[in-house]
Amino acid sequence: MKIIVLVKHVPDAQLDRHLSDEDNTTDRADSILSELDEYALEAALQLTEARGGAKAGNQVIALSMGPAGAVNAIKKSLQIGATEGVHLRDDALAGSDAAATSLALAAAVRHLGADSPVDLVLTGMASTDGETSLVPAQLAERLDLPQVTFASELEVDGGRVIARRDSDTHYDTVEATLPAVVSVTDQINEPRFPNFKGIIAAKRKTITTLTLAEIGVDPAQVGKAGSWTEVKTAAARPPRTAGTIITDEGDAGIKLVDFLAAQKLL
């Protein structure tokens, strides 16, 4: 089995995050492997381990698009268990929106499938920076593949992928033929941590760097030039300030209702 897992290097959501002053793009200092991508990586490892793992020729390729620092997300993926890493890196990619990102990633997936076909492209349910959830669906559209998104359970049986998908009102069972693009939620598994053995093993694994020229993408199709949306202005939200704080002296519930009544919220 050959699985590509998309991994993204994102600002740590535990810290304050910023947009840069010049061009309204995300400041990527203090970035880490997106927490939501760890579930996709774990799902890929479980699928391939059930089929004999790397020894049986299964591949889990961690693919990241991003500037120099994005290699850290790939390294972490290799430590966790991905068999190889691919870093799509080109200055022209900076500032790509979801449409331009999906174009570049689709070209990279085609490139990686040129020698042997890719069975699955696995992703997290969203990035924890942009949070749009657009890229998996756009990638499926560009590759003309079925999309199975927000999977909370996943199995591959023969040439089919079968997933459970939760919506607000029901649980669906969803089936598609391989190859497919699959995004997984944080309910699907418990991602493993890298262990000492994994960290040592990762040093011997290959990370390939790809440029736009190598995957046949014109720089004008990506980055700000190739994006179909433009961020015009960005302003830090004024920090919320604390209001009235009281200590319960036996009547705080009533004071709470008084507050709601005064705010016309009852």
């Binding site: 959501a13 998996p136 944080d186």
Partner: protein
Amino acid sequence: MAKVLVFIDNPGQALKKSSLELLTIARSLGETAVAVNGALNDDVVAALGAQGATAVFRPSSEDLDAYLIGPKAAYLAGAVAASGATTVLLENSFDGKEIAARLGIKLGAGVITDVVGVEADGTAHKSVLAGSYTTTAKATTAVSVLTVKPNSVTPEPAAAAASPEVLTVDVPGSATAGAARITGRKDKPASGRPDLTEARIVVAGGRGVDGDFGPVEELADALGAAVGASRAATDAGWIGHDAQVGQTGKTVSPQLYISAGISGAIQQKAGMQTAKVIVAVNKDAESPVFEIADFGIIGDLFQVLPQATEEIKKRKG
């Protein structure tokens, strides 16, 4: 006059508030047409007319709900062509965003999600990085596709009603050929409470409820509110994952957010940041949630919440 297309997936018997909000925004941008999927009853057609819709499109295929996303995007692309729309509005649900995503690629159109306001020239307002920034963005393409968060505008009726023409859009057979199929469906039990993402009021519980959501649910019911939860509470299995608010759960932007037993770590704050008014109840005076609360109570939620519930019931008579 610019033409706007609103997508309403399965309108059912009556238009939801979030659909009325989309229609209200659409009228401010231009002449409104609506694309529906699923059964379309006469009352809904009349209601769409009352909202100023001049055309209502339906798919030629009745089984789009048997597939995931792709075929609905293909249908909608046909409806955009038939209506001549330059702006498409969808709801900001997971499905809405993904249909918008694929539609955007089909049309070569920029997609903007999590929109909370749209100006006449198509500039969209949104908040990013968990509410820490507000941005304006605009599609640079001929058509723009926007997904709009609930509670972004107050729904209003149209100045003049229209009698919409009902038209069918052909869905090509190829649209379903390679799509993922929904092969089984199990309905979730209905709670009777408002939908979390659309609710005007949310009462949310965290680690501090210690396994008992009773007081949170009772206060929610007294206020007609939805029930939310922090990840700690859903991971502990005290309440379904559906209730999870925050970065890996649902984003909500209600008028009022009451947080009970939630400490307010950064990711939890992310879930409540865009609420208009925040109330926090927590035993620990040092909890970061008190830094953002408009009204904070240092106290035991098992005392404070039931007392508030009783008082609300008394005042509502």
